[in-house]
Amino acid sequence: MQTNLLSRPTSAKSTSMSDKINHPQLCQWLESVASNRDKEAFTHLFQFFAPKILRIARGKFPNEAQANEVVQDTMSNVWRKAHLFNQEKGAATTWVYTVMRNITFDMLRKIQGNKEDNLSDDIWPIAEKMSSEAEVFDDHLEHANLLSVIEELPQAQQDVVKGFYFREMSQEQLAVHLNLPLGTVKSRLRLALGKLKVQLGEEHD
């Protein structure tokens, strides 16, 4: 076990954070995964979180394979979503917990014969870098080849999307800027988003 994590002091700002977890270290690993796709950092994160996620999942799923699936899905999300983790909004532990809880919830619903409807991310929106939508898009341009996808939209939709996401104009400002009714701006934006989602392969989950 990662005993070295126990002894290091932490500069945690929140009172409920104990000194038993090295929060700055966890954040640093997440940062490395986000910016460099750092496999070693991910391995550290995996070694820290996976056994604990497994233990918790074993308490909720009697079936071993299902518990393993929770570990696999949670850690896959950590790998794919590390860039969405926002230190300002909370601890790495809170973020991973939320991801794990949401996956567990959707899986339990599926198993209990309710539905396969993945409601959890609507019920518990994961604290992501969503405060400024423009920022999210800016950050991941290279990865997502978003721009090239946007270029394929009809010009009228492009204008709205670019103004909204890259120039951070509000829908109201855009309506004035483009001399369009607000309703038109909204419907173009919605239409464009629908297309972008399809183009980007619904990777946002």
Binding site: M1, L6, I21, L84, T93, F105, R109, N114, I123, K197
Partner: protein
């Protein structure tokens, strides 16, 4: 001002993911409108996360439970890591698209928590309109309930619980006035007769049919299951 909040017990179960989807969404809808509960939830989530991932906690568990230790050992973690890091996919956060619903020509924004839920057709009775939310939670029924101005629900009790979260407008009953955002959880010890003077839209969850209690209203009992 919001006056009615979920009890802490409910918030705890919400954070742990132990509530059914219907009640989880109810708490989420309320918290969206209530900064106080929002903060309670954030703090409690942080605490639970911290405790869940504390090394000491795990050690204690493993010492007590050899079976769990075996389970940990049985998984090929290296293989799992390899599989995960092979993927170059990254997830993109797209802004949520707002969904709306209309009742009697009025348009309402659907709370985010309900975004992926399937809504049934509108059913009408008097000044009430109900759209069932298809959550397949057995005896628990979840709905959007719209009351036109001047409408109400005859005096009734419940054999189980009845949760109402006010999404828009207001209503009142014997205990007072309720406003947008209020989280009203009643059990079988409550008996009430809600009336909405100016109309309202509610999110409702109940695990049993209403039971009408008063005089002629008893005749309504067969439709008690309509409303909730």
């Amino acid at each position: 001002m919001i006056n009615h909040h979920p009890k802490f017990e409910l918030i705890k179960a919400f954070v742990n993911g132990d509530l059914p989807a219907s009640l989880s969404a109810g708490v989420a809808i309320h918290a969206d409108m209530c900064p106080v509960c929002q903060q309670t939830i954030a703090q409690f989530t942080e605490q639970v996360a911290e405790t869940s991932f504390e090394e000491e906690y795990l050690d204690r568990f493993i010492v007590d439970d050899n079976e769990a230790l075996d389970a940990v050992a049985a998984i090929d973690f290296d293989h799992m890591i390899d599989e995960i890091v092979q993927s170059s996919d990254i997830s993109i956060a797209l802004p949520k698209v707002e969904k709306t619903i209309s009742f009697d020509d009025k348009i309402y924004t659907i709370p985010t928590a309900l975004n992926s839920m399937e809504l049934g057709k509108h059913a009408h009775i008097g000044k009430l309109t109900r759209a069932r939310i298809q959550l397949n939670e057995n005896e628990i029924h979840t709905s959007l309930l719209h009351i036109q101005p001047g409408g109400g629900v005859p005096e009734h009790t419940h054999k189980g619980f009845e949760l109402t979260v006010l999404l828009a407008g207001s209503f009142h009953d014997e205990s007072g006035e309720y406003v947008k955002g209020d989280f009203i959880m009643l059990d079988s010890s409550h008996q009430h007769h809600p009336i909405s003077t100016n109309g309202c839209l509610c999110y409702t969850v109940a695990n049993d049919a209403l039971h009408f209690t008063q005089g002629i209203n008893k005749l309504l009992n067969p439709i008690g299951s309509f409303i909730y």
